[in-house]
Each structure stands twice: as structure tokens, then as C-alpha cells.
């Protein structure tokens, strides 16, 4: 028992993991004190062996437990000591990951598409360089209409059909292409580039619009109001946003309306034009206006982007200035 106490004291006094290992070897190693004792066991009678064996097992267990406990304690102390010396400056900035920005116009188009998408609209497209027919004639814009003035419309040399080519002045020609291609019911939006010959603080020669059109047998102005109210409230993220529909005039709609919103203040701000598709437009697209009807709308994407995000200078949209893009642009993960 002296041996046991001696070993337990040695364990208790071991101050390092190596010291503890030495104690373990001295007891349980090949030539260890306990190992030696065990060797004697073979020369005993079976009865003595059983008795002593049991006592040895208890001793062995007791010492092993003491060794483990001490080992755990010493490891813990070692780790604590190490951790006090292992420090890094956590205030240093993290490793940067490459991060570019999405242009606000793309982000807004994405938002527009998803809002109207939720109402059952799909996206249609048409070319930027349009034939006069799609841009004007089919839309019931007569030859003498002011919109056809050279000052407003960019012209290209006429094509093989003698039809003048124009840079589309609105996204409305997509209405015509869609109606000529398909059958009602039609429900599309058409975002895209548009062009007008105007360049000052509030006009750029290229800008973006989104067009929408619904043609079926029963859609009326009440639906138009509901559709645009929902869009504006979702887009401007204001469920109480006030809208005002007031009569207006467009050659391609009848009745026609312009829509104002009351955004951040009590002033009405005009944001879009709309109306019921003009019977002549339907007829031009081989759709019987006595059977079908529907609404159409068009709005400037830059305009609603500026309003929503408080962007003041229109021209900077097209300047590619990284300072502006980093400020007004959107991170990839900002997409919903």
C-alpha cells in the first residue's frame, strides 16, 4: 500500500504532461513497479491469484483514474497557458471578396418584372430599331402627329420595304408585335430601351420604358386602376400610396389617363400614361374591337427609379461613374 500511496503522490506532484508520463511508465511500463508485482502473480496458487488479482485490478483502476484526472488537468492548464499568448488583431478588416454592383435600372426592371409577374404578366420583347409601322402607324399615330417630327424621333435610312426605320420612341411597338403574333387573351409587359432626340437636364437621348398590355373580353378601367395601384404600392413599398387618375390623350388609348402619385409630400407627381387600348390599334392587329378590349400602360423606368431612390441627376445613369454606381447600385444579394 505504500507503493500505491507513493505512486498517487507522484501523480499528484507531476507538474507537466511529460512528468506524468514518466510516473505512468514507472508504474505500468515494462519494468514498472506495478507490472513487476503482476509478474509475481503467476507463481501463486489459483486461490491466491483470484484474491490478489481482484485487489490488483482495483489498484490498477484507482491509479489509472488518478493518472487520467491529472492528465486532463495538466492539459487544461497547458491549453489555458497557450491561449493567453495566441492573439490576433480582430479589428483588422476581413479578407475582401470581389463585389461588383448591379445598375439601378436593372434592379428596378427586375422589381417591375417580379411585381407584374405576380399578377400574371409575362415579358415580351421587340427590337430597338423599329419600322415606322410598328412605332407609329399601327399605334394610330397619324403621319402629321407631332411625335413624328424629326426633332423627336431618330431616323435611319429606309429599308427594303421603303418603310423608314426609326429608333423606337416608346416600348409600345412591342404591343403591336405581340398582338400580331398571338391571340387574346394577351397579358404582357415589355421593358426596354427607348430613344428620343432630346438631351438636357431632364431628357437623355436614350432612356427606358416598360409597357404593359392586357387584351381579353372583359378587362375594363376598374381593372386598370386596380392593377396599377397594386404595382405602385408594391414598387414604392407604401401600401397607403395615393394615386390619381386623370383624363389625358394618347392616340393609342381611349379612354386615356395619366397617373400621378403622392410620394413624399403632398405634391402630385406624374409617373405614367395608360388607358383602354384604342379600337383602331386592335383592328390594326387583326383583333376585333367589338369582341375584345383591354388596357395598356407605359412608364419611364428612370423616372420611377429616381423617385424611389432619391436620385437627382438623370444624366448620371449613363455616365458609368464608379462612385455613382457604388452608391446607387445594388449588391447581388439585394435581389429578392
Amino acid at each position: 500500500m505504500d507503493l500505491k500511496n507513493q505512486i498517487l503522490t507522484d501523480i499528484e506532484n507531476a507538474s507537466s504532461l511529460q512528468g506524468l508520463e514518466d510516473v505512468r511508465v514507472a508504474a505500468f511500463g515494462k519494468k514498472g513497479a506495478i507490472t513487476e508485482l503482476m509478474k509475481d502473480l503467476g507463481s501463486k496458487t489459483p486461490e491466491e491469484r483470484r484474491e490478489m488479482g481482484a485487489a490488483f485490478n482495483i489498484l490498477k483502476q484507482e491509479l489509472t483514474d488518478a493518472l487520467d484526472t491529472r492528465k486532463q488537468m495538466l492539459e487544461e492548464a497547458d491549453l489555458t497557458a497557450r491561449l493567453t499568448t495566441e492573439t490576433l488583431d480582430v479589428s483588422l478588416p476581413p479578407r475582401p471578396v470581389a463585389s461588383g454592383k448591379i445598375h439601378p435600372l436593372s434592379s428596378v426592371m427586375d422589381q417591375i418584372i417580379h411585381i407584374f409577374g405576380g399578377m400574371g404578366f409575362t415579358v415580351a420583347e421587340g427590337p430597338d430599331i423599329e419600322e415606322d409601322f410598328y412605332n407609329f402607324t399601327a399605334l394610330n399615330v397619324p403621319a402629321e402627329h407631332p411625335a413624328r417630327e424629326m426633332q423627336d424621333t431618330f431616323y435611319l435610312p429606309p429599308g427594303a420595304t421603303e418603310q423608314p426605320y426609326v429608333l423606337r420612341t416608346h416600348t409600345s411597338p412591342v404591343q403591336i408585335r405581340t398582338m400580331l403574333k398571338g391571340e387574346p387573351p394577351i397579358r404582357i409587359i415589355a421593358p426596354g430601351r427607348t430613344f428620343r432626340s432630346d438631351y438636357d437636364a431632364t431628357h437623355t437621348p436614350m432612356f427606358h420604358q416598360v409597357e404593359g398590355i392586357v387584351v381579353d373580353k372583359h378587362t375594363h378601367m376598374g381593372h386598370l386602376k386596380g392593377c396599377l395601384e397594386e404595382f405602385c404600392r408594391l414598387f414604392f413599398e407604401d401600401p397607403a400610396l395615393k394615386l390619381r387618375f386623370r383624363p389625358s390623350y394618347f392616340p393609342f388609348t381611349e379612354p386615356s389617363a395619366e397617373v400621378d402619385i403622392q410620394w413624399k409630400g403632398d405634391k402630385w407627381l406624374e409617373i405614367l400614361g395608360c388607358g383602354m387600348v384604342h379600337p383602331n390599334v386592335l383592328r390594326n392587329c387583326n383583333i376585333d374591337p367589338d369582341v375584345y378590349q383591354g388596357f395598356a400602360f407605359g412608364m419611364g423606368i428612370e423616372r420611377i427609379t429616381m423617385l424611389k431612390y432619391g436620385i437627382e441627376d438623370l444624366r448620371l445613369f449613363f455616365e458609368s461613374d464608379l462612385r455613382w454606381l457604388n452608391h446607387y447600385g445594388f449588391s447581388v444579394d439585394a435581389r429578392e
Partner: protein, 785 residues
């Protein structure tokens, strides 16, 4: 269209408050642009009399005046040269704000003399007129009277936006009619004047010849022995109140009818007309000096009014200088006519003439107002200028454009979304001047002569809706269950491409679709068919053949602002011809200078070809063949074309040094262009991914260092290694490229081996390695190091 509240009240008896009138105008589609109450700013300025004016003791140019305000006499120092004893002028007292400066007046001391007010010029009062010296008020103006009131400015000025279809509202009467229909009061239509003529000598010696093809209806009459001069106060103030200049009584009368009834008229000095009056179409190259002192050269086919000497008026647009009326005019020829709106627009537009007559005839003047207009104006001329009127000369007849429209009142609800009783619908139309016949479900409505824009049922629906108010239309939630995703896979790709490129650190820009021919030429040029006929400037005169030029210019601008790491992309169109097939949707990007700004964890490095390759592959997301031949704007040795079969998907590489120089860029500059709509859409119809089999057996890696000529493409070696044993070789990667000099390089190739059904034995591994070496050396003529 500007009008005052008091002018409106000439035609509309109403008790409605201003706000109601303004809201109703907008609700009717006559959108209120601005409301101005000049009286507010001018209210404190009153009429005063200079009783004495003496030279300032210490300044030659100043006078010290004793000024009678109507209640007291005060001292005012004045620098105006026209300040003089006996002059009635306009006074502001200390505390009032001078409109031109926004500053409040104080009691002043000018070179030792106290001044208790300021006598004002028209400029200082913001009355818009060029003025020398202080305002000279007419001698009989009452002292102390508000100057605004004296000017007739104590009235609210309303400016409304008139849509192109509402020419009738370019007259105050038309506006009043709309307001009355909307229930804001009672309309007082002007009474019809009929003038008895006297038998004037000389009239029958003149003939009127009118080509009714160019002018459907022309009327006129001579009025003799008129006295022209300044207009009487009432007429003058009325015109001034809406910003019209008072010229002379005769001219003012025509302007009055133009503004009041949307009925333009013209007065010729009869004595300046030589011979007979002819209305005809102009011939190419004829010229004409107009009242604005400019000479216009006409194209063929404009309507002109001529005497025997030539053109005396550009019909419906502007009168001629040679026959204009002035104070000496005693005999006048008054014209009222109907001109074709389209013809007026086509004539005036290219000439750039803007006039009140043009804007009205262009939108359409009531064809039935020709004779009543002539009579009413005659009546006013006789009243204000005296004289005797001659017989009416007339050619053609008032055209009638409108036909009855069948109208189903239920269409107001089924098209307009608002339920309106048939009786109410009829009432509205009648109040707007329509002749309604029938009742219940079977109406017929004949539009009034002044409306050119009503042709069909839908137009009638709009009329009823706008009078009832669009705000009354109940809003119905719109939405049907989407049948499809809003974007097609092709369209979705454009948004994904944006996300992916931004995720790679590039920033999206949006640039013009047009560029300068010089830049276009650097990128292959454009055909004649893509040259704009009327560009906004030479720099934006052709449709771009590539997105790169604008991207490169954008890089240069950002570099000039000090940015070192510039990487930009755009998803947008480029053009090869004007047909829809010639317009390609592209994704293109450029990186210049360094790849990201350096930071504490990582030094920066210059961008290179492999950045652009990574960008390009991120866009195409598929395997493509490479081809060394690239367009001229790429570095010939450091670029490649990506192809799928024969179809070009795009290019990537370093930009040609010539391009870098042309755009004045700090290099290196790399870029890519991908025709994103040419990328094939994924074919699979299933959403399931290919089956993954995970081998439970150990994989082993073996590295090879292969020495080859520089010209040998690494891809050849990698493919050769893979081919050595397609079953056991799971992966081949290039872990190093080392330049050995002497035109040779070492490729470090790592091959991963694994079997699905057992652990590879040393012998198997040895066999595969030997096959890899053989395949590598055979394919590349290289040696293993």
C-alpha cells in the same frame, strides 16, 4: 393655356371656391400646371404722386422727392432719371419685399438724406417688361390704389395643360363649358351678333378667289373709317392679365377672340392690299415677310392669302408685314376662316413659326365659329374703333366633320368600369354640347362642331367618365394566377449573367446604343443603314457594332478620376443591321489596371487574359471550343474566340495595344464579348441532376512535370492525360506552369485515380502512370522532367 378667374367668370356663373375649380379642371383632363397670384406680391405697392423733386444736395444723379401716398406726404430719394414733379408712379414703403430681389425695404439714408420708401421700376416689380426708370402710372389713377389692382393683376392666373385633342379649350369659353358640365356653375354662351352692313363703296371692286381645296371656308369684310390706337383699359388689362401684349385696338380684338373663343382672326390694313384677294396653295420657293419681321421661304402646298403683289398672309399661322395694321389704319379687312389642321401643322412645323393662331388651327378650330366669329369681332370693332362694316365676302362653306355615333350607355361600365345611368350619360353629353337623340339603351350622339376627337363609342365613354371623375371608377384588384414565369429562360439568363458578373467583382453600367463613327470604325465599322439621319451629335451618330467602345471610354473616365481597379460590364444590344435579326443581345465586360485594389492580406496584381477568360466562361456556363482567330480589336496572340460548332459565342482576351492607345487607357486592359442569345438553352426537361456515385475506395494522386515547347497549348496535355485511362482517371488538373527559358515551359499536371469497385493496387497505379506519360509525350512531343 393661361386664363384668369375673372375671365372665366365672363362665361361661367359660379360660386365654387378656387380649390374646387382647380381640382375639377384637373379631373376633367385640363391639368392645372400652375396657379399664380401676382396680386399677393404686388399688394403693398401703391400709386403715389411726386409733388416735388429737387436735386440731392450731395449727388448729381439723385433727387429728393416729396411723395404723396394718398394719406400723407413722405420724403423719398430716387435715382431714376424720369422721376419728376407731377409724375404718378408706384411706391413701396419700408417693410415691403421687392419682388425682384426678395429683400425687404428699410428706411434708408442716402448720402445724408433720409428716404422713407422706394419708387419702383417694372423690372423691380417683376412685371417682365424692359423698363428705363420708374413706372409711369396714368395721371388719373387714384392715389393710394393698389398697383396690382390698377393693372388688373388682382386676379388669380391659372395655367392649364391642353392635350392635343382639345383645341376647343384654347379658348376660355371651352374651359367654362367643361366646368359647367362638371356641375360647377352655369354656362353663359356669348350671344350671337348680327351686323347690319351699310353699302360701302369700293367693296364690289374687289374679288375674292378661294381654292376651297386649300381653304374650305373663308370669310371677310371691310370696315371703313375705323380709328385704331391703344386699346381701352378693359381690353388691354384683360390681355395683359394672361401675358398677352397689347398692340393696338384692332389687333387686340383679334387676340381677344382667339383667347376667349379659340377663334383666331386676322386684320389687314385694307389700304395696303393691292388688288384682289386670292387664297391658294403656295409654290415651291415663294417667300414672305411676316409680322415677326422674318422672311420665310415656303415649300409647295402651304395655304397662303395673296393680293395682286404676292403673299400677304401665311394662312392661319401669321400675317404679313406689308399689310399689318398700325395707328394710321383707317380701313380694315377682317378675316375669319377655317383652315385644315394637318395642313397648318405641316406648313408651320418646318418653318418653326409658333403663334397663337397656329396652335389653335393646328388642333382644330370650330368650323362653325367662322361667321359668328367674324360678326362678333365686327361688333367689337365698331364699338371700340367706330366705322362702318361692309358686306360679308364668303368663299366655301363651313365644313362638318362629325357624324352621329351609336352609343350603348352600358359601355361606360363594361369598358370604363363605372356604372352610370343612361339618363345621366345623356345629360353629360348634352351639357358638353352633344346632340343626343333616343334614350335608354339606344342612344345616338352627334358631337358638337368644336370637337374633332370624338369618333366612336369609346370616345363617348371617356367624355362621360371624365365629367363623372376618374376617381369614381372603383378599383378592382387585378391579378390572375400566373400561368408561366414572367421571364423566358432566355430572358432569365440576362439577369443571371448580371448577377454572376457582379459576383465576380464587376460593376454594371448602362451606356448609349449609339456611338461616334470613329469609335465604330475601331470595332469593325457600321453599314450605311445604321447611320442615323438626324443624330443628336456626331459623337452619337451611328448604332454601335460592339459594347466595348463605351465600356472602354467609361474605363478611361474612371481612371482619370484615380480609380486603379476598374472592371465594368454591360448587358445590352449591339447592331449589325436594322432588321430584328441584326440586333444582338450581348454581355460584354472589360477589366483594366489591377485586379481589385490591394489590401493588407493580399498584394494587388495586374489583370490578365485569364480574368477575362473566367468572366467569359462565367457567362456562357458551358463547354465551348476555342479558336485563336479573333476580331481586330483583340491582341492577336492573347485572345480567343469561343465557338459552338460553327457559331461564334463570343471572344475574350487582351485588348489590342492600338485600342488601348486610342482610348488613352492605363493598361493592361482585358475584355470579353458574348452573344448571350446564341447560347443554347439547357435541353434537359427534368429537374433531376445526374446520378452521383461515391466510391468507397481510396483515391490516389500522381503528379507529373512535363517539359514542352512554349507554343504547346496546356489544354492538349490535359486532354492527353485524361485520355490515357478514361475509366480510372477521375480528374486531371494543372497545378503549375513554369517558364524554363529557352522557349520551354514545365507543366505540373496532377492526375487523380480511383476505381469504383476496389482499392487500386500498386501495379495498377504503375500501369496507369505509364499510360499517362506515354500519352503526354506523344501528344505534346514533350519530355517528363
Amino acid at each position: 393655356m393661361k386664363f384668369t378667374l375673372s375671365w372665366l367668370r365672363d362665361h361661367l356663373e359660379t360660386t365654387a371656391p378656387l380649390d374646387t375649380i382647380l381640382d375639377t379642371l384637373t379631373a376633367l383632363g385640363l391639368t392645372v400646371e400652375s396657379v399664380e397670384n401676382k396680386a399677393e406680391a404686388l399688394a403693398p405697392f401703391t400709386v403715389c404722386l411726386i409733388e416735388e423733386a429737387e436735386r440731392h444736395p450731395n449727388a448729381d444723379r439723385l433727387q429728393v422727392c416729396k411723395v404723396n401716398t394718398g394719406t400723407e406726404v413722405i420724403q423719398v430719394v430716387c435715382g431714376a432719371s424720369n422721376a419728376r414733379k407731377g409724375l404718378k408712379t408706384v411706391l413701396g414703403r419700408p417693410g415691403v419685399v421687392i419682388p425682384s430681389t426678395g429683400q425687404a425695404l428699410k428706411v434708408g439714408n442716402v448720402r445724408g438724406v433720409d428716404s422713407f420708401g422706394m419708387m419702383c421700376s417694372a423690372t423691380e416689380l417683376l412685371l417682365g417688361t424692359e423698363s428705363e426708370g420708374i413706372v409711369e402710372v396714368e395721371p388719373n389713377a387714384p392715389l393710394g390704389e393698389s398697383y396690382a389692382k390698377l393693372l388688373g393683376l388682382d386676379d388669380v392666373l391659372i395655367d392649364i395643360d391642353i392635350t392635343p385633342n382639345r383645341g376647343d379649350c384654347l379658348g376660355v369659353l371651352g374651359i367654362a363649358r367643361d366646368l359647367a358640365a362638371a356641375g360647377l356653375g352655369k354656362l353663359h354662351p356669348p350671344s350671337l351678333a348680327v351686323i347690319r352692313h351699310s353699302d360701302l363703296a369700293g367693296c364690289d371692286t374687289v374679288t375674292l378667289q378661294c381654292d376651297t381645296g386649300v381653304c374650305p371656308h373663308f370669310t371677310g369684310r371691310i370696315i371703313r373709317n375705323v380709328k385704331n390706337g391703344p386699346s381701352p383699359e378693359g381690353l388691354r388689362k384683360k390681355l395683359q392679365s394672361v401675358g398677352l401684349k397689347s398692340i393696338s385696338t384692332l389687333v387686340d380684338i383679334t387676340n381677344f377672340f382667339s383667347h376667349d373663343r379659340a377663334r383666331p382672326l386676322h386684320v389687314f390694313d385694307w389700304d395696303k392690299i393691292k388688288g384682289n384677294i386670292t387664297i391658294r396653295a403656295s409654290q415651291e420657293g415663294e417667300s414672305f415677310e411676316a409680322l415677326d419681321d422674318k422672311t420665310y421661304t415656303l415649300k409647295e402646298g402651304s395655304t397662303v392669302i395673296c393680293d395682286d403683289t404676292g403673299i400677304i398672309s401665311l394662312a392661319g399661322i401669321m400675317g404679313g408685314k406689308s399689310t399689318g395694321c398700325d395707328e394710321t389704319t383707317t380701313n380694315v379687312f377682317l378675316e375669319a376662316a377655317f383652315f385644315d389642321p394637318i395642313q397648318i401643322a405641316m406648313t408651320a412645323r418646318p418653318l418653326g413659326i409658333i403663334s397663337d393662331a397656329r396652335s389653335r388651327f393646328e388642333r382644330g378650330v370650330d368650323p362653325a365659329s367662322t361667321l359668328p366669329g367674324l360678326e362678333a369681332a365686327t361688333k367689337m370693332i365698331l364699338e371700340l374703333c367706330g366705322g362702318e362694316a361692309g358686306d360679308i365676302m364668303e368663299a366655301g362653306a363651313a365644313p362638318s366633320f362629325n357624324t352621329p355615333i351609336r352609343f350603348r350607355p352600358e359601355r361606360v361600365e363594361s369598358l370604363g368600369g363605372l356604372k352610370v345611368a343612361p339618363q345621366r350619360a345623356a345629360e353629360i353629353l348634352t351639357s358638353l354640347g352633344f346632340e343626343v337623340t333616343g334614350s335608354g339603351e339606344a342612344f345616338t350622339a352627334l358631337p358638337p362642331s368644336w370637337r374633332f376627337d370624338i369618333e366612336r363609342e369609346a370616345d363617348l365613354v371617356e367624355e362621360i367618365l371624365r365629367v363623372e371623375g376618374y376617381d369614381k371608377i372603383p378599383s378592382i384588384p387585378y391579378g390572375v394566377r400566373p400561368e408561366a414565369k414572367p421571364l423566358s429562360p432566355l430572358q432569365t439568363r440576362r439577369f443571371r449573367v448580371r448577377d454572376r458578373l457582379a459576383g465576380r467583382g464587376m460593376t454594371e453600367v448602362v451606356t448609349w446604343s449609339f456611338i461616334s463613327p470613329k469609335e465604330a470604325d475601331l470595332f469593325g465599322g457600321v453599314p450605311e443603314s445604321l447611320v442615323l439621319l438626324n443624330p443628336i451629335s456626331q459623337d452619337l451618330s451611328v448604332m454601335r457594332p460592339s459594347l466595348l467602345p463605351h465600356l472602354l471610354s467609361a474605363v478611361a473616365r474612371n481612371q482619370n478620376r484615380g480609380a486603379d481597379a476598374v472592371s465594368l460590364f454591360e448587358v445590352g444590344p449591339q447592331y449589325t443591321n436594322p432588321t430584328p435579326e441584326g440586333q444582338h443581345m450581348m454581355a460584354a465586360g472589360v477589366r483594366a489596371g489591377v485586379f481589385q485594389e490591394g489590401n493588407w492580406t493580399q498584394k494587388t496584381r495586374p489583370v490578365d487574359l485569364y480574368d477575362a477568360k473566367g468572366d467569359a466562361l462565367a457567362v456562357i456556363e458551358m463547354e465551348a471550343q476555342g479558336d485563336r482567330a479573333t476580331p481586330s480589336w483583340y491582341h492577336p496572340g492573347r485572345s480567343a474566340t469561343l465557338k459552338l460548332g460553327k457559331e461564334v459565342l463570343g471572344y475574350f482576351g487582351e485588348l489590342h495595344p492600338r485600342i488601348v492607345k486610342a482610348f488613352d487607357l492605363k493598361g493592361p486592359v482585358v475584355g470579353f464579348e458574348i452573344f448571350i442569345d446564341r447560347l443554347p438553352l439547357p435541353k434537359k426537361k427534368t429537374t433531376a441532376k445526374s446520378k452521383l456515385i461515391l466510391s468507397p475506395y481510396q483515391a490516389v494522386e500522381r503528379d507529373f512535370s512535363l517539359v514542352v515547347e512554349n507554343a504547346v497549348a496546356a489544354e492538349i496535355a490535359l486532354k492527353a492525360a485524361q485520355k490515357a485511362d478514361p475509366v480510372l482517371i477521375q480528374d486531371v488538373t494543372l497545378f503549375d506552369v513554369f517558364d524554363l527559358g529557352d522557349g520551354k515551359k514545365a507543366l505540373g499536371i496532377r492526375v487523380t485515380l480511383q476505381a469504383q469497385d476496389h482499392t487500386l493496387t500498386d501495379g495498377e497505379i504503375q500501369d496507369v502512370c505509364e499510360k499517362v506519360v506515354a500519352s503526354l509525350t506523344r501528344a505534346t512531343e514533350g519530355v517528363l522532367r
